[in-house]
Symmetry: C2
Amino acid sequence: MQEEVQKRTEINELGEFALIQLLTSEFVKQQPSTLKGIGDDAAVIDAANACTVVSTDLLIEGIHFDLMYTPLKHLGYKSIVVNLSDIYAMNAIPTQVTVSIAVSNRFSVEAIEELYEGIRRACDFYKVDLVGGDTTSSPKGLVISVTAIGRQVKEKIVYRDGAKPGDQIFVTGEIGGAYLGLQILEREKQIFLEDSKVKIDLENQKYVVERFLKPEASRISVFQFAKSEIIPTSMIDLSDGLSSDLLHICTQSKCGAVIFEENVPINTEAQLLAIKFNLDPITCALNGGEDYELLFTANEADSEKLRFLPGFYHIGEIAEVSQGVKLRSSSGKFHPISAQGWKHF
Amino acid sequence: MQEEVQKRTEINELGEFALIQLLTSEFVKQQPSTLKGIGDDAAVIDAANACTVVSTDLLIEGIHFDLMYTPLKHLGYKSIVVNLSDIYAMNAIPTQVTVSIAVSNRFSVEAIEELYEGIRRACDFYKVDLVGGDTTSSPKGLVISVTAIGRQVKEKIVYRDGAKPGDQIFVTGEIGGAYLGLQILEREKQIFLEDSKVKIDLENQKYVVERFLKPEASRISVFQFAKSEIIPTSMIDLSDGLSSDLLHICTQSKCGAVIFEENVPINTEAQLLAIKFNLDPITCALNGGEDYELLFTANEADSEKLRFLPGFYHIGEIAEVSQGVKLRSSSGKFHPISAQGWKHF
């Protein structure tokens, strides 16, 4: 809404190469393994003796984000974070990213710079290098494609298929908040669309709105694993929701699981909001996605260590496959867990 | 036009995971370095002692391809090839790719399977593994994002900045054809739009149309370099056009260049077509893009070896930066070369 007073440079005034130059000039190299970043046919990474871990995501305006309530800087930040989260979910350390964008002429150079400012901040905070990408036009809307690259020695990489009956299940932070943040933003958008004079106040919903708009990847957990010599038996990041992501682990590990309702960490503000929305807080935690905490399983010895570490919540136990995947409610009843997470199509 | 008789499954009948499963089940692992492909948060690649080389491209319907004349199978094939071409342009061997797509509900599952059939054929031919990606919906049109990963020991990687005055300039095949193929297809599209009853006959333009719709990356050249112990001093793939791509090498290597008009290899069919279109064949070769041949420079000793190898065309010489970048015409006149290649915005 401040657009009138801001400078607007058309993208075609600059051309592709000048635009790339403009957008990437502020990025400082963080990783000694980055031998060559932007400016050749491909980036070059010195992998030394570690394995290279690669993950990629495609974000489409109108499907994955709504620019009515998503500031471009936050969008840039989040688009990096969600990819780094996948690398941490392998127990690996992210080292490089590539970012490709397609933009319509609706976007000014200044708008794209905002987006890259968020990308740069995320690269800075997580110490990863932007090593390549593609910048092109789109007939309509904004498309962002991020590929994240990380490294870890083969023995320490954690897959989704290693959980065993008796392993304990942990999450690295409170969940359900991002989903409620999205509900708030969607509701405020509707109110604004009906009457643009209504003043929107998100001050009391700061926690959940930030969980949705500016999530962080759980890198501290991966550092903690290294420090405490813990190697999870399986791990995934919570992007689709606890139900859906736990089912991925159980399917791939060929096992069942029990989640203890009273142990699932839900932020107080999120709980109150859920009730206000007539939603069950545990349902938000199970089915809401985009929290980007890590969900992992640990064997007995590592579970013992985790009891004494801050930032890890013990929420359940892996069971035999015949027992299915269940929630044990606070009253002691068992409910089957099914995937109700986020769905594209 | 055969759509009525073909089966049409809606994407939402399947859901994302079943779709990924369907699309990727036919892919066979090609590379021992692929420790983990699709099915976890990230792919895992054993880089051993080589460097990892990464390149990425974003292809948008209506900008990079027109489905009126681009069969989806060819599009899938080409989207892989153009990325592998970037890896070869580093003198590296591609080993893995990730492919993300966003599709609107205009596309049936069968249509997306066609696209993946092309992707699979390219993976098969170039011996690369599909190790990840993202499949999502789009409000409109088709978006394809490909990241290619390759490897090479540090000493053999070839950048754009190593050309030196006195180095000889080579290309690995005939150029200008893809541009003429595109002109033909665009012209036939216009004719068809004006009168859909006109029968379109591309039989006489087979070479140029195939150069555009189904290009190949010049992997044979990279194998030849290894076999003959040649390491180019600089290299780039011809995606934007000879002028534009040569200027990248000259700018990054801080040098000038002379291209000898009579040495630039242009296919006979392409030459005849150019004349039919009232275009100068050398202009098509200089400014037309998407040929995906390699443009490289070699020092004296390697240039000597290249003289006796098939498939390499000696087209010019690197000069001092003060001499600029020029075309020496067949009549001996010099013309400055400027970037007139493909432009996005």
